[in-house]
């Protein structure tokens, strides 16, 4: 008697088992390195964990979250983080796109220019922060020298000590690295775009802007989603550049949430409070990423 056909749409049991075996090593690594710490962080956030880490300490429920949400320090930091994130995501993506489009043109030295694009991305965040701290220095910084030479300023400006300029400069420093990453990915996407599409559009009389919005950007949508999601996550989790440049100052002008988390977890050893902050920031970054994905895909299906 012939076996009844499997109408469930699932692969046969043997294939499923084989598939599971194939993904098992990666899954184990992900569980150990990602899932366990995440679960532990959530558990810590519900406890008053002693600094020694000898135990979870007493269960305090949502007390840590209550402390955080009732603190003006948190809301100020959330505002700073949002400002930083918006500047970082928008500028990284736009500058990355501009660089990718430029490097997709034919010109002498294009190979070298493409290689140079990798340098900021290959430089660690902390090193970027230290470099930019000196570059933006109010007495000896190169940025001041350039602005003065161009006649854009009349005197040296202490960018990092001025609450009006500290945030833009830290955003710029972080963007300097992240835009190169975005540029690399978007350039790869542009190289898959058939030239005939642009040629045909040009013959039909489409101008540069029309070709950009009707051909290039729709073609790049999958890469743009990836780039933007990465940018959102990096924006919310940014620590090194800000800490190296301003330590969150002057005052609390650049005190992003990752700096608050660092202080609570590693300086004050308030493990429970720091973990609760980390959970909040993780959720914010996750939601931010999901919103971006949803926005882009909704546009695609419209």
């Amino acid at each position: 008697m012939a076996a009844a056909p499997d109408l469930s749409g699932l692969p046969p049991k043997a294939d499923r088992a084989f598939g599971l075996k194939l993904v098992a090593p990666a899954m184990i690594i992900l569980i150990v390195l990602l899932a366990l710490p995440t679960v532990l962080t959530v558990i810590y956030s519900l406890h008053d964990v002693p600094a020694s880490g000898a135990s979870f300490g007493p269960f305090v429920g949502i007390e840590n979250y209550q402390i955080i949400f009732s603190s003006p320090v948190f809301w100020r930091s959330a505002q700073v983080t949002a400002t930083f994130a918006i500047g970082f995501v928008v500028l990284s993506t736009l500058i990355g796109l501009a660089m990718a489009m430029l490097l997709n043109q034919r010109f002498i030295g294009r190979g070298l220019a493409r290689a140079l694009l990798i340098i900021p991305w290959a430089t660690p965040w902390l090193v970027i922060g230290i470099l930019w701290k000196w570059f933006a220095d109010g007495s000896v910084g190169g940025l001041n020298a350039v602005l003065l030479m161009l006649g854009l300023t009349s005197d040296y400006i202490p960018f990092l000590s001025d609450p009006n300029t500290a945030m833009p400069i830290t955003v710029l420093a972080a963007v300097w690295r992240q835009a190169s990453f975005a540029g690399i990915l978007l350039l790869a996407g542009l190289q898959t775009l058939p030239e005939e599409l642009h040629e045909a559009a040009q013959l039909d009389g489409a101008n540069w802007w029309q070709r950009l919005t009707n051909i290039t950007l729709p073609w790049l949508r999958p890469v743009l989603i990836t780039v933007t999601v990465f940018n959102v996550i990096y924006a919310f989790l940014q620590f090194d550049v800000v800490f190296a440049m301003t330590q969150g100052g002057p005052g609390d002008t650049t005190q992003v949430m990752s700096i608050l988390i660092y202080r609570q977890l590693f300086v004050n050893t308030n493990i429970g409070l720091g973990s609760a902050l980390a959970v909040i920031l993780g959720v914010v970054a996750l939601v931010g990423g999901l919103v971006i994905v949803r926005l882009f895909y909704r546009k695609e299906t419209m």
């Binding site: 008053d48 840590n64 402390i67 202490p158 005052g251 609390d252 590693f266």
Partner: protein, 441 residues
């Protein structure tokens, strides 16, 4: 064995040191080599682990190597960056790392004892002599209010007023001593130097200046119970008015909120600033830069009283009494004297960077005197340690790091004109009480 030290601390230490000086010190002097080596040399055959931050790592290893070569246990020395040292150390200890001896910041010391990461030193052979040997002003950094000995010195320093003596003389000004005099002198010099006063006012260092300036006006910041009594002193608001005016009126450069101390030393060396308040050993960096004004820079007391800082050595948990004694031997060598009764390690740090030890004998030791460059007024420095400086005992209390982390935000708000001096007093008081009261952001 626990000592019988009383809780009020300082008075009893004085009596103790007098008694020891009167009766036992002559005998102790002859016994010091024996006391210093103790019995651990023969008793412990394992290896010790030591963690330090990366100030001259080769020197650290060489000094420890010499100790081992004298017949003591081998020591694994690990060196990690100074930036982020506390988080790294705490993470290692939380993770179960066993470290016999480690550098630590004084403000962490009581917290580390409370968390079980550090051992008290009570009853160890010679520990009372070490404490008695210290300047009385320095003892409360290493001995808590309950009389427990929680650390040994790694190095010590006092905040001093580095000043360009020629610039002052040319302007017909005397070296200022009070905050008002500093303000007036800075105003007078502003025609020659745009911003005559520099200090390391980055967020994480504002707390040291808080004490330096309060002490300049002889204001007690915290009482023995850790209560923020500065809030009750009418002079406190004046200190913050002065601080705000120095910044708002451009007597201090606008970039100070993020400038690092190396840059500030250079400002002094180049003649771009006339005053620089920071640890005494920054005179070495100003002079060694050999800028056009380096040779004109001298040190003076930062006021009638100033902040004495010092980082410490703490003993981790030991598996056995022999290991503990061996660690203590290493600690004595590294944080006090060697087997010959010499300040061998401290002398090395003096040569390297002008760091000091909080021991009166350090400043009269001919080898130490020879180690300091001529431009150091050691008599003034010793006097500042002895009678014109304060460690602010609250700085070692377990809640203090929490408070310390908040001072920068509050002071920066003051400097930027976002808070009034009166509001700053309120905010600092709330921060201190909040830190003592439990968890706050």
């Amino acid at each position: 064995m626990k000592t019988t030290r009383t809780t009020n601390g300082l008075g009893s230490f004085s009596r103790r040191s007098f008694l020891k000086a009167g009766g036992a010190s002559a005998l102790a002097a002859t016994l010091v080599p024996g006391l210093m080596t103790g019995t651990a040399k023969a008793a412990y055959s394992g290896t010790l682990d030591m963690l330090a931050w990366d100030f001259q790592p080769d020197t650290i290893k060489s000094l420890v190597g010499e100790w081992t070569a004298a017949g003591n246990p081998a020591v694994n020395v690990a060196v990690i960056p100074n930036l982020g040292y506390t988080p790294a150390l705490q993470t290692r200890l939380r993770g179960g790392d066993k470290i016999d001896l480690y550098y630590n910041f004084a403000y962490n010391s009581q917290k580390f004892i409370n968390e079980g990461w550090a051992n008290k030193l009570n009853g160890l052979p010679g520990v009372d002599d070490m404490i008695a040997d210290m300047f009385e002003s320095a003892r409360r950094r290493h001995v808590n209010a309950a009389g427990d000995i929680i650390s040994a010195p790694y190095f010590s320093a006092v905040h001093m007023l580095h000043h360009n003596a020629k610039m002052l003389a040319d302007a017909g000004l005397a070296v200022p001593t009070t905050l008002k005099e500093i303000y007036d002198a800075s105003k007078s010099l502003q025609s020659k130097v745009a911003s005559p006063y520099v200090a390391y006012w980055v967020k994480e260092f504002c707390e040291e200046y808080l004490h330096t300036y309060l002490l300049n006006e002889q204001i007690t910041a915290f009482d023995d119970a850790g209560q923020p009594v500065f809030a009750d002193d009418p002079k406190t608001v004046g200190v913050f008015e002065w601080w705000q005016a120095m910044y708002q009126e451009g007597l201090a450069p606008k970039s100070l909120l993020t400038d690092d101390p190396g840059k500030l030393s250079n400002e002094m060396a180049q003649g771009n600033a006339a005053f620089y308040v920071l640890h005494h050993y920054f005179l070495t960096s100003i002079r060694s830069l050999e800028g056009p004004e380096s040779a004109n820079v001298n040190m003076a007391p930062a006021g009638p009283s100033t902040l004495q800082i010092g980082e410490v050595l703490q003993m981790g948990q030991s598996d056995s009494e022999d290991e503990r004694l061996a660690t203590w031997d290493l600690m004595k060598y590294y944080g006090w004297k060697d087997a010959d009764g010499k300040f061998k390690v401290f002398n090395q740090w003096a040569k390297a960077a002008g760091l000091a030890a909080p021991y009166a004998g350090f400043f009269t030791d001919p080898e130490v005197i020879a180690s300091f460059p001529d431009y150091y007024d050691l008599a003034m420095l010793s006097d500042t340690f002895a009678t014109k400086s304060n460690v602010v005992p609250a700085r070692t209390l377990p809640w203090y790091p929490d408070f310390q982390a908040k001072v920068g935000d509050i002071i920066h708000a003051l400097l930027l004109g976002q808070a009034t001096p009166a509001k700053t007093v309120e905010d600092l008081t709330a921060a201190a009480k909040g830190a003592q009261g439990g968890k706050t952001l």
